[in-house]
Symmetry: D3
């Protein structure tokens, strides 16, 4: 008596209703508690699923069809409102469970701080992992106005966890002077302003590595993704981001998980942000889940 | 591994996950194929559920809490795009099944034509039924530009099915001359412009009767419900509609099912239409499901 | 080879394509040059026509059908951008011509200053005329920051022209102290805050009189007409304005012409302002053109 | 070399640039950290000031002009992002200072929790004070999901501070069962759904009392104030709120301070919420500051 | 007594009021009956005309002025609501008539299926014709969910009519696997993702040919044209589309007619979609009508 | 008792509260009286300041921090509504004063005509000055419909003032034929369509020169700046404009002042226009004020 949930956008199109049979798991993390400027990414996962209704199931970029990938949409983790510490713990426990079950975790944010507990869970299973990070912001702060759990900090934490030499940032065009200095001195990789070209240059050196990919939707120019909390002019096109996703798919890295964060639908009455985001998720499923 | 669906607005708040245990069933009918002016009510049910997240579970109008009512949210019926005849058949079969299982059907539209198959299913079980209808439009046309399956026709069809003397319309302020003539001559009841006052006068005469209630959100003034396809100035306030819902709850009629239709979120960037609609659904659950 | 202009909202629905045969003439005045706060009423006439597509042609308020009234839609007068003095002259000449041809002029604004040249043309033909004025603002200033041609002045000018004792204002809730003092001392009639009740009391005293009616859409509360330049909280409902239009229709006054001004569509993404305005125009055609 | 700040809406119109000379002080509290549903009231004070540009300086409700009241606009208190406890302390200290200087405090929110530190400061100076509270929500919770500093709690805290018998709530239409029970049993006054009528009945009993007034903009129906975080259908009109403000002005109570909270501009593209709010502030200045 | 229709955007700027004297004819096709996702392109033609008011009449791209081209704007064909088959017949008859009168047909959509009857009429007159097609979607389906009259099918139908070897598609980035296979195997030309570069390579081979050009506005990235039903990320810029239009103008092909479809204004509150579309129409008039 | 004005966006972030100590002065010019299409840039300066709240204070483009530049934000010049001539005089007097005090003037518009009085003041102090102009429109008209004070004329006036050979326009893609002819014949420099590449070619020839830079936000494509009065498709990206600003900073020209005009927030609900504009202002401060 319950109707197919893909109908009317409750789950991502073509998802397999069985967790057990699936290879990848899509999960939402509707938290924006630590956002300093324009909040609203808590509604991102739901609107990305809804927009997936308008997608074709076949990709001419990958020459692949969604029926060739087996994935389950778990819905949103019920993160406790206003409690960042507990929310992050829940995400970490959940990803631990997914990894124990051999799943490929594909997270939908929510704010970027949510990548931090994912990193920790991934690292326990893949201690040799590298991180590819696409973003407008460096996210390399140690804290934000005294608060270590802030959406400006996850990549700095990642550097501490897996070593800065294993972190590769692309498209960065905003941050404090200290963040750019840290990037220069720490041994991490940072490509400013651009994504596809420098990524293609780096990928061969990552061949054979286990790589987690985290994408902040604001790596796109506001023209392509106005629906985000801290829009930053001077970004890349959605065409370039599709090219980057494709480059990873065609490379020899082993993608072990991924997330797409910071979609905040309230600031985009045209809905193009979630429409683009749902296409990126399709490409990630088709190109990265093997 | 699947998360609670009420979280992030996938089902109406406080719904019981078990169909079997439930007394009432909320179901969506995302169809707007026959709409002549501004389409978009296909997205109504999803946004009403989403808006239910902002509701209190207790009602000071009814002095009752949603945990006192047992209801299941079935999601949306997967109506075939563009095929009105088949869509109506599917709704009719579904309501037949609900009634066979002893459930109280609570439908979310979608366009008003969807009430027609519901009427047919209800009538098979309750051949003595009456209909209370709140709407800006008479919906008494025999056809619309040659098409008998139109959103302008369901109440005329209802008159044919259960007898015009069993149909009670309120708040009507738009229609063709022929529709108003039919209302006058056929023996049905029609209150123009107003809802709460005339309804309270009529209710005693319906005491003990089995009554189905259909509400078109455009009975409200566009100030209170701009998110609808054929907004019509001069309507009632949401306060008056809450009063009407309460009057039925306090009366001696036996409500056997209900629907709320024509919420079209795209025309209301303030979201107040679905916010109001979700409150009306809460009141209907609390006041009418016994 | 040219298609019917009523189709897709180029002219008001059901207008007669022949100027000669028509009794009333709808004309647009797309000027907002003297507006001090939020400009945009220059687009009002076009959007009112467009919204007329969603109207029923029959009115249950008047029990009358648009085919019973013969009117022509002349389009918009090509007022020269930025030149208020010349624009007003063009309106005056045009209304002179309409009156010479025996037409009932029905103007769509544009800003309220446009009523001033209409008053002058009407007065030449009807030296005994009275004016009924519904508005949030008194519009009784002598000038606005030194400028006598301002949208805050037309009713003061009208008092000078036809005598304050022949001017009746309703719904006023904003103005300078001097305007309210003038209203009290000059002998004009001013009803503050309310429209329908005081209007009904006044109408019998105007029986047999020639009356021009000017309605500023902001007499409505912003809840009912957000699409206007100087929205003012505390206004009347669209229901009350419909009641007022009906009261005039049922009275013994002889309406000689009318206008509806200050619809500024850009501030109302819900489109309810022009939807309501087109309904008021329908009622004015049905009730006032005899 | 610095230009007049009232120009372009930086301060409320007609404010006196001198703190020392002023009788009343307008201050903003741009905090929305504890909001559970739709955040954004942090931008409320700035947009209310901006909208004041469109106001007339004279009020026909009060027959008074803003030049008859002497007030200073202090701007917004720089509340530390995300730190509710410290923010509340800052507000309390600030109001203490205002009272020490003999000023009438007029606060602009921001979320409703901000009224709590104001109550504490007021109570130190006026231990016999009463509170008049207009709101859609009871705000009588002891805590919200474990958190005592929540926007659902300020009136409960007020009851604890000054005694429930000195708290008068109006317009309440949403809350938990426990809040309505508390209202009934505690000895406080609560009028459900309505404001102006019950307020007028109560006011004589408050004659001569020192009264602080706190208004949550969501006491208005969403039709009149869509720009708020937790819009609740079934509210009052802006006309009724103007009537209530006027009734207090005409009564014999001694208003000692006031606030207007929960204006969240992002949800209202028509801007009518802040337009109405700025009018209420004008009326409060004219009617309550003596 | 009727005013110039170009004034206030009723016809495309600078159109000649005489059908007889004109070389090209602009006509609107306000139909979106077969759209599966977001309807609304029925309002496209009217808003493109309205936006033409903001255009310069001279083009620095073409170094030409609109007064050098003679065109008539016929308004919108009154297509019968909901009846796709009859609507297509009407379009076909109309284009037949235009061609019989020696006119260059320039159609404004509405949905892309409307190009199908145009193709048929063109083919009768120009049996050697080729088609240039710019679009995000392949539109090569044989049917859509059983329905052969769908907006996903016109290019497949065109291949059947004029031979796939005479069909040239550019910018395609969405479709079913079967559509891309058909493109590969049938002998038609398809350039994926890009438009200007491959078009310039192809144009010499079309020298001297009669060519009809159909442009779906969604060939643009949603950043440049958010106002369309099925926005698809990863598209081209408006700069590239202007370059493509210019390349055709400078080539030796003989353009025999053209259309621009799928502008759906409701999804673009910035109005940039119709602003861009009106500029493309100007360029097509200046560059292609000879 | 007055709070920091940078808080809540009243002044541009990090501005020095002392005029005397500052090197540069930001001033707003809220005038749009001569705009022919979509008015609203009068609100541009206020929203650019507000958006500056979301900026980082450090720029990775310039590798510089705002604390390294000393600037004062003077607020908006109180230009008299509707009086263009007097407004321009006030701007000229104000810039004269700034220059007399040795300040670097950084103006925020407001319409482009406002650059004309600035040019005059600059020229008195720097008779050898050159102008770099980035814009979609040539602005080379002698008058607009008879009016010499129009937003289409400032660059033509500049040519008359400082000699066409000292004027360099970039990104131009709209104008009358006469304007392009003038550009060709007068000796001025005009680069059509592009900005960064031709600018970099020209800059060496301007080495050592005193240069004033005027930027019309509509040089950007509407995808990047929809919030402007006369949006023109086919423009540059915000990335290219950042590159152009950087190229000037790295060149050997001596920037003596600058303005950024035509931001009209009402047409951009995503707010990306003012977000981008505030970033451009930051880069201009960091790169051009020496």
């Amino acid at each position: 008596m319950r109707f197919d949930e893909a109908y009317s956008g409750k789950v991502f199109i073509m998802s397999n209703p069985s967790y057990e049979e699936s290879k990848a798991v899509i999960y939402g993390m509707p938290m924006d508690w630590t956002v300093s400027f324009r909040p609203g990414s808590r509604f991102g996962p739901a609107r990305i699923r809804e927009a997936s209704l308008g997608l074709e199931e076949y990709s001419p970029y990958m020459d692949k069809h969604l029926e060739e990938v087996n994935y389950f949409d778990a819905g949103d983790i019920p993160l406790p409102f206003g409690n960042a510490a507990r929310s992050l713990d829940m995400v970490e426990e959940y990803v631990d469970k997914l990894l124990a079950d051999g799943k490929f975790p594909l997270g939908l944010g929510g704010e970027h701080l949510l990548s931090w507990p994912i990193f920790k869970a991934m690292y326990r299973k893949y201690p040799d992992m590298a991180i590819i990070h696409m973003d407008a912001h460096a996210d390399l702060r140690e804290q934000y106005e005294g608060e270590p759990l802030s959406h400006s900090t996850p990549i700095r934490k990642a550097c501490g966890l897996i070593g800065p030499e294993n972190v590769y940032s692309f498209g960065i065009r905003s941050g404090m002077r200290e963040e750019f200095q840290y990037a220069k001195e720490s041994g991490m990789h940072m490509s400013k302003f651009e994504v596809a070209r420098p990524l293609k240059e780096i990928l061969p050196s990552l061949a054979g590595r286990n790589v987690y990919v985290t994408i902040d939707i604001d790596v796109l120019d506001p023209a392509h993704a106005p629906g985000t909390g801290t829009a930053e002019a001077g970004g890349i096109t959605s065409k370039e981001l599709l090219e980057a996703i494709g480059a990873i798919a065609k490379s020899d890295v082993n993608v072990i998980g991924a997330d797409l964060v910071e979609v905040a639908p309230a600031y985009d009455p045209t809905e193009q942000t979630q429409i683009a985001a749902s296409k990126f998720i399709r490409e990630m499923l088709l190109g990265w889940v093997k």
